[in-house]
């Protein structure tokens, strides 16, 4: 499929092709957002409402995209967010996507709901920087085991998803009663307790299978004490994924979280929460005011290199992409995921050159402005 590279020149080109290749069940699961998908759309549109203010006549002969996340050097500040069930997109599965990310020299977050176990990914994918995304099971021992297994296999951080006390209502999945294809399951529990496996079983007669699984297994009673507990059992850095307010950013810093991921779960949890790029400034400001060390990452709606650049301009240390990797996988497995990252890399590089920045640290707040600010200025 080498010729794809000629014709698929944007992330959206991959999405268009992927929607032709995938079955309706997978499309419903991958594509949809919660309820009326206001936030899903807003995540993308909010980037389009921001206006860049480019600076000219700066030497941009060499644009260096490299930066660090949690002290690890990455070739660019665009990394891969945790998404479930990669083998539903392509047999290459999580080993493929993790390898593509490693080949690109950037960071990969493995989902708790992977169709390949964390050990299999670690053992079979190309070496690379990887973090483990944690859903906290009601059974706290399972949670601890997962952390231990991630530590053992060289994952460099625990990314606790904090916006999923229950699964958001995705109308499409409820209509379809979404379930995994029979040959797939939540691989981390393959040899463990079978009721953690999920697999092909559909839910009750009203909810998608996954929503029922989450309601049964995942702990909706988590409080900030959990962060303290997690800190007590592991030395790995802790990221809290799913913060959208300055109030919670302040709490996170207080509880010693190392990374805040500004995320609304790709618009899949609570509909009509703000776009992540709209929430970023208040989070960045709260962290700064705290005076503590805490990185801010962001995901949601990034489809262009310039989207990534805007997030960096507004204070994110790195950005993460969810669905785009799934579209890449669906089109062309590992290579498709690689190509997605390559497209974004080239777009980011070009955007930085044209905005007048030759390295990530050249990006600064005056380079972006909200479209409406131009409207009231005469």
């Amino acid at each position: 499929m080498a010729q794809l590279g000629n014709r698929l020149v944007t992330v959206n080109d991959y999405e268009t092709l992927a929607l032709k290749k995938l079955g309706s069940n997978a499309i419903g699961y991958y594509k949809s957002g919660a309820e009326d998908e206001i936030t899903l759309r807003d995540n993308m549109e909010a980037y389009q409402r921001l206006r860049l203010r480019p600076r000219i006549l700066r030497d941009v002969g060499d644009v260096d995209l490299s930066t660090t996340v949690l002290g690890h050097r990455v070739s660019m500040p665009i990394c891969v967010a945790p998404t479930a069930f990669h083998r539903m997109a392509h047999p290459d599965g999580e080993i493929g996507s993790a390898t593509a990310t490693a080949r690109q020299g950037t960071a990969f977050i493995l989902s708790s709901l992977s169709t390949t176990s964390l050990e299999d990914v670690a053992d079979n994918a190309d070496a690379g920087l990887r973090f483990y995304q944690l859903y906290v099971y009601k059974d706290r021992k399972i949670t601890e085991q997962l952390v231990r297994r991630a530590e053992r296999k060289g994952y460099k951080a625990i990314v606790v998803t904090v916006d999923t006390a229950f699964l958001g209502k995705r109308d499409a999945d409820q209509r379809d009663l979404f379930a995994l294809p029979p040959n797939l399951g939540i691989a981390n529990f393959q040899e463990l307790k079978s009721d953690k496996k999920f697999s092909g079983a559909s839910g009750n007669d009203k909810d998608s299978g996954l929503a029922a699984y989450i309601a049964n297994q995942i702990d909706p009673r988590l409080t900030w004490d959990f962060i303290a507990w997690l800190r007590s059992i592991t030395k790995l850095p802790i990221a809290a994924k799913g913060i959208l307010t300055h109030e919670d950013a302040t709490m996170a810093v207080k509880y010693g979280v190392d990374v805040i991921v500004v995320s609304n779960h790709g618009g899949r949890q609570l509909d009509t929460v703000s776009a992540t790029i709209d929430a970023l400034p208040e989070v960045v400001q709260a962290v700064r005011q705290s005076g503590k060390k805490c990185e801010v990452w962001i995901d949601g709606g990034i489809r262009r290199g310039s989207d990534a650049m805007k997030a960096l301009i507004l204070g994110a240390q790195a950005v993460f992409i969810g669905r785009p990797i799934l579209w890449g996988m669906a089109c062309n497995g590992q290579q498709g995921a690689y190509d997605i990252l390559q497209i974004l890399r080239e777009e980011l590089k070009l955007s930085m050159a044209l905005v007048g920045a030759s390295k990530v640290s050249d990006l600064e707040p005056s380079m972006v402005k909200n479209a409406v600010e131009y409207l009231s200025r005469l």
Copy 2:
């Protein structure tokens, strides 16, 4: 029709199906708003312009939706607004909808223009909390009799509709010359004076039958003195339904009204008045500043649990739904109405969990923000 529950997962799904089942006359009457339907649409869109600000890591293992209205405990703060002519939607009629509401443990307001008399509803529907909506007839004795009958049959409040001096202009009804099917009539006057019955008779040659009926029978000369008179003849709590301004909220409180219902009659009276959720804050503030005890309810445009939650966040004690119950009835009679309430209950419960509230009183102003506020913030 039990299998409907699997595929109709949103209120709008029910509307779509209902529009296939109903005749054009009924659709025209149920669906339409006044004139260009600006307010009808705005009622819904205004909710979508509000952004939720969710708080994380709060124990939401048990979300309790129960609250009180006028001191009566209800299982959730979503109740049923008065709408006319339920038997036009389904033979189950008002007995069906009142029963569905009772089974859901929440409050039901019976319309003055019901196709089942208030006695029949009280005698035949499951026991439940019910209020009586009053249109004030020019003949004040009729009005007094209606109040007495409602008292006798255990209705717990009189809800005076104050936005209907005349019926709003609904283009569709004027084009159709809307009239009830011949077998139906305004049941409360079955054994009374026949000119109060309305029934199948069409209006004059220019107005819908209902508009003519209202013009003939309902008193357009009401002033605040009417509230004083009503207070003098009944001990029941009095609600004023149809207030949209702080000025009138202040008047209402002054005249001892127990409940203000922020309502624009579902966008059916005066077009281009504000969406109710946009008017809510000024009403809530006026009541608070008065220092008097007065509940604020709201109706109009609520189609999702999160819409209800936003109204609660902004200070409503409870929300009421109009058309959704009609869609439920049209699809599946009593059970359809029940299912509509169930969908909203589950959506509200999930939304509260995801916003970080485990009981109604946890909802507070900082959890919502207008979308435009994000635009001018860089």
Copy 3:
């Protein structure tokens, strides 16, 4: 065509039917606005952006629409703006439209470009309040004669159109090279100099016939001195039609103008000027601050009674409609024009009742609010 009344219940219904009845040449001329028709659309949309704030429990049993314009009592504050060539819409022509307006008891402005002479209208239409709209011919004697003829025939004011130094660019008319049907002409010059007649002759090869006519005949060199001159030759009140700024409102008052008509010529002159309802407040304020007596009228985009009401709320003494009368004429001649006024009368009456006003002077600024004001209020 009596049955039309049943089915055509809005002004827009008449427009829809008129567009089926008229030829493309007439449609192009009547319907179009200047260039990209931004202002044409904005004239209407601006009304829809305004939100009414209705007051309840006021006695609206008798709503009195009557008011005065220039001291003359009219049955309602909705009058008829000057539009050219009524006989192109229907053989009833200006006599028909003037009669319809007289039957409705309101004011009619006869266009300089009428297809019936001002004498014929005065002699043959039902008695009624009429004003004469003046385009100022380069030949000042012609202008003086027109004023004298209007005085003689009982027209009660001279309405000088001040926004037409040249005819605006209307793409449709340029593509069609608009010309009148051969049997019609500018009737006021029937027995005068033939080059003032215009009639069927098309323009040059690039402009519409009318644009060429205006360029040849109408004086683009008018200054405020013209008002002084006009004042010196007639005792009739003078209205300046086509003012959109507080600067010019201040000038008008200074030069003793009796009426300012806030108008953008129905979006037909300079595209992207503001909607008239958006310009109204600054004009009203300038007049008030001057302390002088000067009425403010408005036209442009009024299609609903509530549009008219909003203009009155914001300080207009009366509103004028242009195209709606042409649609009425095209559908049904004199009676169609009458029905249009009747629709607007009933809508205005109902809107006033529902906003809580039983007479025009009850309308006050707090009854309207811009939609965006609700957006930034939480």
Copy 4:
């Protein structure tokens, strides 16, 4: 094709016809903007968001459009921006477009990437005011030679394009792998080094041919020192084309630039930068505050005479059009380009008359207002 003049009455009419005449390769290249074309659209929509405030009763019998650019008198403030490859639109090529512009008595900027050499244009087109647009080649000697050649052939200024360190990403061109037709090339290098010629050769397998050419040849390391160097080698006035911020305007003035061209390259370089008319005020203000002499020109999105007028009102000395000339050429060669300028001339003249300005210097800031300013004013 003389009859075209009758039916093509707007710039957009020409675009519509041109899109029928051109091949898809040329359409892709001429029409498209960078990435999602947000800026491409915004360039045009931003003009439509501005509201004109016309002044009445001013003598506009003679409207004089003439003005100066860099001290040279032009018949109107609408000139021609540099665009590449005119012979791809029509065999008349740059000689045709330069001649059309000269016949209209206004200024023409010849692109570095012309399909006719700067000498051929100078020798064969009608005499007229011309500037030379410079892309700075990595090989500084080539750059110097180009400047010398332009000086020798009477070009009156060097317009350095400063927004093209690399070519922007134009999805259409990447999908097509855009290349020139085999008979065309970059004519300025015909007798020079062949690798500067570009011509029909396509790029690498991933980029459009032109993007590859620019990446190979054009210097992305330019800094403000380049301006100093250019000043040192030529006495011609220097324009910096592609400035969008007050920061860079201040730099430009400091480095002695004679003209700032507010431009985003027609939305073809960095997507989501602001519309040029939105950026104009901050640039104008920065220049004014500097106290230095520097003209401000603007291009991007001008399709109507009133667009040009708005830019003049907001402080531009002259406006430049890019694509419209290409559409004119595609439709009818030299004459088409002439007609485009004629349409804009007549529209500008009429707009000035209707806004109350009889010469360019009558245009002043109070004549324009942003549409949103009307929204928050009650």
